[in-house]
Symmetry: C2
Subunit: 173 residues, 2 copies
């Protein structure tokens, strides 16, 4: 007897986030930020602070990933990385509900942000601070063409692993 | 006959900047930012925008370099580079009046920011976006122990040199 193949992951849809989505984002947002393992945000961020830094006004963009029933599975924000003569490079951040990991939500969000940056005429995407022990994310980014430009030694104080590196990652568009 | 030695550079003093210093900072600040060769700020920054982003409230710090007569020769700001579990790394920016270059103002400002970061318990200083053609600055930072962690390819659109790299530079304290 053969092992039956895993069922296909249910579809993930990406749409513009609105302020009305915040109550659905905040529970897993808080969980991920409070864990302090992947973001350089204050781990005791309030809901209001989180909302203000995550839900970006145009021309920047914040999206949610939802399932067929409309449940929010993850979210991404995308923006210019620098101003002035550095404003041709975009950046983005992704946050997936741990209860819905490993079903392609992060990949869908990442792909969407690359499409957004390309459509808006950015020449590249840069991540400024990818925690090196966040291996799942690093592998995902690399699978989409990103490379590690450099690693800031001991740039992150991980609650389990101590002082570890922060990757700067880059994709030319 | 021997060539007489160059006269010693007049002394440079560093002190806390206040809002009252802004009128003395703004003329050369505007010149340097408008040239668009070294900063990723909007090149058409207004005085008010410049003041708001340069004069930082405590615990961050902004200083001016002055001569014996109190004339402002340059300025620096120093701050945390990231929040949360990245908040043990400082950053800093320096801006020297081109009319007073090559007399040690940049070095005095840079040294002061290293001392500040060390005294405040930061474990490192990181520069996020050093324009690679700004060779004088890169050499100064390297002479103080900084290394290039990585270079974001074509991260900066230089008005003369076109798309060039942005160094991420780092000094462990």
């Amino acid at each position: 007897m053969q092992t039956p193949p895993a069922p296909p992951a249910p579809p993930v849809h990406i749409r513009q986030a609105t302020a009305e989505d915040w109550p659905a984002i905040w529970p897993f947002f808080r969980t991920v930020i409070a864990a302090g393992e992947t973001f350089t945000y204050p781990t005791d961020l309030t809901s209001e602070q989180g909302r203000d830094l995550w839900l970006l006004p145009a021309p920047d963009r914040t999206v949610v990933a939802v399932d067929d029933a409309g449940a929010v599975l993850g979210t991404a924000k995308m923006n210019r990385n620098q101003q002035g003569n550095g404003s041709h490079v975009a950046s983005a951040s992704y946050l997936v509900d741990p209860a819905h990991s490993r079903r392609g939500v992060g990949r869908a969000l990442c792909t969407q942000s690359i499409d957004w940056a390309r459509a808006r005429g950015f020449r590249a995407i840069q991540y400024n601070a990818v925690v090196e022990t966040n291996v799942h994310a690093v592998k995902l980014y690399e699978s989409l063409g990103f490379t590690v430009v450099g690693t800031v030694p001991e740039g992150f104080h991980h609650p389990v692993h101590g002082y570890i590196g922060l990757h700067v990652m880059h994709l030319a568009l």
